[in-house]
């Protein structure tokens, strides 16, 4: 077992452990803060795959943006501790079946795919990603930004004070 494997195991344990807290904790605030470690763990996995730009973006968007918004939202909720998050209709058998089906399909996809192996890690991904965005994938990139702009305008519309009210 090399150093790389040991580091990966620690990171994987932290990621999965904190993800379990997110799902299982009875207090919303712990769930929200545990997400911090999950997001960081995923970022470290990106680093270990040689995707440095993606890792920084993951931290920037998820920790710097989404997690903070989530925390603000959680703090505005009414009851934070000892929540019963289970839904009224608790269906054990269908739930287990679906979980099992998702797990098997993901596991099969991971083991059966012929992954393209790269011997040497890609030197710098930032430039490649930027070029691909601006040349080959320009249309999806622009469509995504229009979608975000629409969401922004929609949010501004919703919170705007009505002049007649």
């Amino acid at each position: 077992m090399s150093v790389f494997d040991i580091v990966f195991c620690i990171v994987a344990l932290v990621t999965i452990g904190s993800a379990a807290i997110v799902v299982l904790s009875r207090s919303l605030i712990y769930s929200a803060f545990a997400l911090l470690f999950t997001f960081f763990g995923v970022a470290i996995v990106y680093v270990m795959l040689g995707a440095d730009f993606l890792a920084a973006t993951q931290v920037l968007v998820y920790v710097g943006g989404i997690l903070i918004l989530l925390l603000f939202g959680v703090m505005l909720t009414h009851r934070l501790y000892n929540l019963n998050l289970k839904t009224e209709t608790f269906q054990l058998i269908p739930g287990l079946l679906i979980a099992l089906a998702v797990f098997t399909s993901l596991a099969l996809a991971a083991t059966q795919t012929h992954w393209k192996r790269v011997e040497k890690p890609v030197a710098a991904t930032t430039e490649t990603i930027g070029k691909l965005f601006m040349e080959e994938y320009l249309l999806p990139f622009e469509i995504a930004s229009i979608l975000l702009l629409v969401a922004l305008i929609g949010a501004a519309m919703l919170v705007r004070r009505r002049s007649d009210a």
């Binding site: 150093v3 605030i29 803060f33 911090l36 440095d52 730009f53 920084a56 973006t57 931290v59 920037l60 920790v63 710097g64 943006g65 997690l67 903070i68 925390l71 603000f72 703090m75 030197a123 710098a124 930032t126």
Partner: protein, 345 residues
Amino acid sequence: MEALLKLLSDNVAGYGSLASPLQYLLPMVLASLCCIALVALFPIVAVYAERKVAAHMQDRLGPMRVGGWHGWAQTIADGIKLLLKEDIIPSEADRVLFKLAPLVVFAGGFASLVVLPFGASVIVSDLNIGVLYVVAISSLGVVGIIMAGWASNNKYALFGGMRAAAQIVSYEIPAVMAILTVVIPVGSLSTQEIVRAQEGGWLGIGNWFIFKPVTAVAFLVYYLASLAEVNRTPFDIPEAESELVAGYHTEYSGMRFAFFMLAEYVNMFVVSAIGATLFLGGWNSPVFGGPVAFMLKSVALVFVQFWLRWTLPRLRVDQLMYVSWKVLLPASFVLVILAGALAVR
């Protein structure tokens, strides 16, 4: 760190015969020790300097007694006092988050040191996403501040934490846009590449980005936004004493409080050092280059932070948001467009 590894393997007999993980581990440990030394020593000097600067600006003398000459040992004594103080956790506080928060805030500031280019080969790691890394890792501090505010179970702490988070998130956008105006002409996010792009020119300073039209304005935008990101006056409403006691660290004392103070001063240094890297030529200098020039520039920018703090009054919350969203943000968008237009010329 690569330079340190080379130095070790060249000068220490039998270093190459060590196990390969150990060969890499030793420079890592040494580099982190250097960073910890900087993180521990810089606040001691900076707190003393700030008190002296503040005192002289207000026609006072400041600390004069401890240690004899001009009270030089004052902050050392204060530091020891903080270490010896009783560790108090409020009985209604969330103990786990209360203990975790100072560490998260401190880790965010400490981790930024990795990409600061002190000299041509004096850098912990020259990541090719350098500047983006600093922007990303500093968001850790925001989460830590919210955590501290929430865990204290104190309305002033919670208000301070939420204000700090809202402020840092708002000012991050103009700061990043201002950084982009430098990244566009350089074509790289690596801090070393950015410093190398500013070599030479008229009198050895002509290529610094602060002397070029678009980036000169971007420097102002960056510096103002960075003041807000480290909660310094005139943007220090998260810890406005008159209304919030002390903001998110109201309930903290002793060692944990010291961690918040360390993090604050480290962050002040980091934003100044990034400013020096991006706009003031980094370790380039017409007279003597290297770590000395870099430290002088960073410390000069820290001094300006002191200067502003003891000169300007605090902004109101609405004025703060006005400055960010209606002044700095549009200005920084225009700057990015101009920088892009200049780059494709």
